[in-house]
Amino acid sequence: MKRTLYKAILFSTALASSSLLYAADMSKTLRVEFDAGATGFDPAKVSDGYSNDVNENIYDTLLTYDYLARPIKIIPNVVEDMPKISNDGKTYTFKIKPGIYFADDPAFKGKKRELVAADFVYSIKRLLDKTINSPQSYLVDGKFVGVDELVKQAGQGPLNYDTEVEGIKALDKYTLQLNLTDVNYNFATILAMPAFSAVAREVVETYAENTNAHPVGTGPYMLKEWKPGSKITLTANPGFRKEVFNFKADKSDPVSVAVAKEMKGKVIPQTGNIEISVIEEEQPKWLAFLNQQLDILLRGIPQPALKEALIINPENPLDVKLAPKYADMGIQMQRKKMLEITFYFFNMKDPVVGGYSADKIALRRAIAMAFPRQETIARIRRGQAVPVEYAIPEGVAGHNPKARDGAKFDPAKANALLDAVGYKIGADGYRTLPDGSPLSVEMGTGTAAIDREWNEYWQQAFDSLHLKLTFKTGKWSELSKANREGKLQMWSLAWAADYPDGENFMQMFYGPNGGDSNFAFFDLPAFNQYYEEALKLPNGNKRQSLYDKMDKLIAQYQPYIFSDTRVRSIVTQSYVHGFKTHPILSGWRYVELDK
């Protein structure tokens, strides 16, 4: 009897511990796609969205986002509470939750390794290490007290991680304190980026030769297999802390309500494996989804399939429904407005298109007014985009939905403007500069078919103004170099939010960032002053009023021509539950498959 009881206890304990080991159903695999391969999984070494999506599921950041709250809301992740920010907005203090462990790895020599404040100190310092050359270093350069000296001491060598600095320090085992060099009430949004994930020093040192291929974090998944450029497989981390789905629904959104209801109280993650296939071409991506080889199309219905897959209201192309044949298959669709702006910019240092005098402003404005934005949205984007009217897109703190600062399409007025400031039409049918010298503008462009489509619209725009336009074709890196060296007059780019704060967008127009994130080399003292003032303010009316003034200045001087923000149609199979598109998060850890 005693033995039977003992066995029963043993069995139930084993059962309990195994369910704790794997809350996720290891027989289920979520299959998703990437357009391109991830570059690696060392948070300090990567910056592409694909790597970040994977890192978000392997590692933990101090703060994260509420899965269902809209507008997006930052919440504590591995910390007890939101950080205590000092009154001067310079000191952030975090209390890390005890009992969070890294996934098991030989680097820990068989011991359980707890996440502590020192891990974040080490991880943040790595972003500044010259031997790493982190593409994310711009987020931290000059931001922390005393760190610049440490970087200077290291020269081109590795940082001395054992030297304590005032800016990034562990007060005790679980308390992390960040001391900023300047006031910044919005730094918490930056700290939720995957670049600020905690890595363990032992792991980095053990796999120093190839840290990108050996990620070990405290997150819900672990890297099982990585075939660069082809496939990534993640598997549930059996040691992941117990987290239960407890997000409140946004009641105005039926998807949010459904997700909150079906997932409430469930342990995260629910799905045992995630398989990410790199599918670059659009047809196989769409057909693989229809064939149920993919469960979610993360990047939305591919452009060539939009016409077939959606019923688009011709009066309002953003009013779309899934075509009945797909809706009948149980496919679900969610719309996602990207946190991005696409734009064209002028080199403000260029003697022809740059400068701040009235004639130069007139030239840039005329070009902006001749560009048929609505037509490119209708034709190239198939109506699945909205024009950018403000430097900060919707969904990012600091956006002003009432602003209409984008250039209005009016070629007649644009021509009149050029006539008024003396850009006369010469014998060859093209305008000259006001001093009579020849006028020709060169625009950088890529080599893809879609680039040629855009170029046709630009050619039409320049023709309508009697301006000569030539194209400089090249790879992104070549054009980027040419732009930096001041050899490009115009070029187009897209800027996606690194973090959902207006500062991430407004920095593109700040003079000292010229040639860096300020592609146009726009340098206007008034703008710079507003920008510096805004940096010291939390999100609110005061900062918004400064942002509005800054946006007006951009519209007035026209260093940039705002184009559009894309809207994607994300589709999921009928058996996918718990998925709600999030502007920043991948959401994979919350997905449950019922098949």
Binding site: K45, Y138, D141, K227, P228, E280, K475, S477, K481
Partner: protein, 312 residues
């Protein structure tokens, strides 16, 4: 023959050196600057200089070329600049799928085309010959992209005979599940031109004087075809096959992109796009060596087929 092989081996060294010089010059002229890609949004002058120093791009050109020579001698091309993975790992992981696809494709195409070519040559001038010629011309005028898109849509999606996309972990899984559709499409693309080319080789031989003499001597058609015509017609066919085989290494970019085959073709494209010189260097050198080896093999096979061939 042994001395011939040794001599050809020696000749490979200057050829390889020439290719290395050309590749190095081209990369430095039009290869792009990887530091702009690797810097991400941290595009400060200091960061760009630091990345260039880390990649060794701040060294003088002779120094950089010397490093390249050392890499070729040791066959160790270091790590990829874009993913920081060892180049040897990239090649080891990707060469298998490329070879599996291209080799199967080449072998199947060779056999099917040879059978078609020999039969149409035998019935030269008949309706069968004309029908095959017309069909081949039509098939050749259609782009490979059309075959891929139509094949994927109808055979994989509509008929559900094959997976649309993907690659497994085991040899047989890939060979039996993921290779058949790309192979079928590949055959549809290559059989037509191969059949026409091989047919020309056969017809040319069949119109030769020695065939007429053989016929006059009373030899059977079968003996003439298999013993005489086939042997002579094989020389240009072997040249064509041996020229194509080294490209097993580079795979087929379109097939890889559309069917998710993790081969080297797409890797080259990405390496060029991201100015990943270590990967470009490694694949080019492997390809050049393969071309030289297969050329040598072709010469040796000529000798095997036709003992009259002299190797100098």
């Amino acid at each position: 023959m042994f001395s011939y092989i040794i001599r050809r081996g020696w000749q490979m060294i200057p050829t390889l050196l020439g290719v290395m010089l050309l590749l190095f010059a081209l990369y430095n002229l039009v290869g792009g600057d990887p530091s702009y890609i690797l810097a991400g949004k941290s595009l400060s002058n200091e960061m760009l200089a630091s990345i260039r120093a880390q990649l060794g791009l701040d060294k003088s050109l002779p120094e950089q070329f010397f490093i390249f020579v050392k890499q070729v001698v040791t066959m160790d091309f270091g790590t990829s600049w874009s993913t920081q993975q060892p180049v040897s790992d990239i090649i080891n992981n990707r060469i298998g799928p490329s070879i599996m696809l291209i080799l199967t494709w080449q072998i199947c195409s060779l056999f099917v085309s040879l059978i078609f070519a020999a039969s149409v040559a035998y019935f030269n001038g008949s309706i069968y010959d004309r029908a095959v010629t017309i069909l081949s011309t039509i098939a050749m005028s259609i782009s490979i992209l059309v075959y891929i898109i139509a094949g994927q849509y109808f055979l994989a999606y509509k008929m559900q005979w094959f997976p649309v996309y993907g690659w497994g972990n085991g040899f047989w899984e890939n060979f039996l599940i993921y290779i058949p559709l790309p192979l079928l499409i590949g055959l549809a693309v290559s059989i037509a031109p191969d059949t026409r080319f091989y047919r020309t080789c056969f017809v040319e031989e069949m119109n030769s004087d020695y065939v007429r003499t053989a016929k006059a001597k009373g030899l059977s058609e079968q003996t003439i075809m298999l013993k005489h015509v086939m042997r002579n017609a094989l020389i240009p066919i072997i040249t064509s096959v041996m020229t194509a085989l080294p490209y097993m290494i580079t795979g087929s970019v379109l097939m890889e992109r559309f069917f998710g085959i993790p081969g080297l073709g797409n890797e080259i494209l990405k390496a060029v796009d991201s100015s990943d010189f270590p990967v470009i260097k490694a694949i080019t050198i492997y390809l050049v060596i393969a071309v030289m080896i297969f050329n040598l093999l072709a010469d040796l096979i000529y000798k095997l087929i036709d003992p009259r061939v002299q190797l100098h």
